[in-house]
Symmetry: D2
Subunit: 166 residues, 4 copies
């Protein structure tokens, strides 16, 4: 079976978010690159996607964007490898399946659909300052859903999860 050469971290989050959330996403992207991990996100030139990709690329990381579109018009310039799906939100499933671990930053309905799909597909997911009430509570009990206050805290949690798998 395929052995991961590099761990792929999915970073989900809204296209339209506060400056504070973008700063946090930039920090998260920087730290992901610093661990030598690949960052994967939705690839567009806005919100959490652009901020996290910039953080990773500024720190020498590889960034993979899974685009809903079939052309390059809305691809973030901080994406090194854009995958054009031409499938709209159906690409959300690909984001989830292709990530080893997922961090969900602040977002709206699109991000919530990705959180739900991640948990349904048993992908470990960390909510970074994203309050989803107790809606996904059962998954916290199943050691799939985790919570972090800071990018540093999220990275620590991923290291814990990687160790647990070894």
């Amino acid at each position: 079976m395929w052995q991961a050469k590099t761990i792929i971290i999915g970073v989900m989050g809204g296209g339209n978010t506060s400056n504070e959330d973008k700063i946090s996403a930039y920090g998260l992207g920087s730290l992901i690159a610093a661990q030598g991990w690949i960052l994967l996100n939705g690839g567009r030139n806005c919100g959490i996607m652009e901020a996290s990709a910039k953080g990773a690329m500024d720190n020498g990381g590889i960034t993979v964007g899974i685009l809903p579109d079939s052309d390059y018009e809305q691809v973030s310039e901080y994406i090194s490898i854009p995958i054009l799906t031409g499938m709209g939100n159906a690409r959300n499933c690909i984001n989830i399946l292709s990530s080893h671990y997922i961090v969900a930053c602040q977002g709206g309905a699109g991000t919530l659909s990705e959180i739900a799909l991640a948990l349904k597909n048993k992908k470990p997911l960390i909510l970074l300052n994203f309050d989803t009430r107790d809606l996904f509570e059962e998954y916290a009990d199943k050691d799939l859903l985790f919570f972090a206050d800071t990018p540093e805290h999220a990275i620590e949690k991923i290291h814990d999860l990687i160790k647990m798998k070894q």
Copy 2:
């Protein structure tokens, strides 16, 4: 532009639900067929999918199932037209896009992903006894998210929405 010959009602909900929720889903399916509407759901032989399809077919309705699978092994016998996507959960997007109005019955993460996708795609959605806390509150304010206690109540709400569009 294409004019709907028949209104298509998407019925979402879990594959593994209580008997009470299945009875409610059966009632909803029956009423959808009684209005002359087409019922569309995930097509599998379990939970809300099977119960709602049975309700509709028992009352002479047409039922369309959008399957995650590429074969007929798990198709409910109450589906008149099975669409095999072979795309897993990516088919959730097709469920949403192809429905004029959506009723979400009790379910888990899969159903939550469909609620989120519906609202993101501006499809009017009625929660039938499904408490999603205040997570999608903003969409209630935008006249996209509605609440119903009974199948009758959900059908009434759809009639209201149809009238509002005319």
Copy 3:
């Protein structure tokens, strides 16, 4: 396992075709409806899709259109049940998987991609006046690929295939 209530015949073919090919597709649609079968195609308001759907609907048949689009703008008025995928050409796979038997009328690269996918997925396919050279020859030897000169001839072939399965 699910038992087909109604046989679904996929009709593939180009969006931009000669009048002669459209007349043939109209005839094919008429005959499909006359057998009590459901016609499934790409759902758009042009070419083989529109002509075959009109043939079926004029003769009381149900027509299912699997659209590449996420809205109703280009849906043929002769489609009774439009399935909006929002997935562009990825919907070609759904056309193939959801059809019990496929008839490929004259078309271009899109139709050729569907012929190739049908044969790869072991779906019996009839070429109706579509000369694909000897490119798919091996599938004729495997009893998957057949040839017809007229819509009547294609229908006859499908009846043969149905009998062989019984």
Copy 4:
């Protein structure tokens, strides 16, 4: 608009091919990596996919695999970034859309579906020792379809196409 940091070359071809074709695919992958380009293919551990990925990885290249599966069981060990789509052959469209230029090596119906989709989507495509009769002839006239006898020849052609775009 997004500016390609790196050119992505799609390499299509069968999972079950002759040793000669695998040697050619290995050579093609090696040359793609030597140009500093990214190789993208279907990602599985067989045929042209495995051979071309090995050629690229052995020469320090990055290899992206767009898998039909939702797990890692059949991923080639020579893929650096596996994208799990869980969508079966619908992923063929993603292969095409995500590649700047495509080389089609020997293959069967799956490869033919990708050639057809590439031409339909106006992606320049080079047939490397793959005889598709005159089926796609019209695209040769439109400067979309090209022919090569050797991997070196295919690479040369891509350089020509890149120059023509500048």
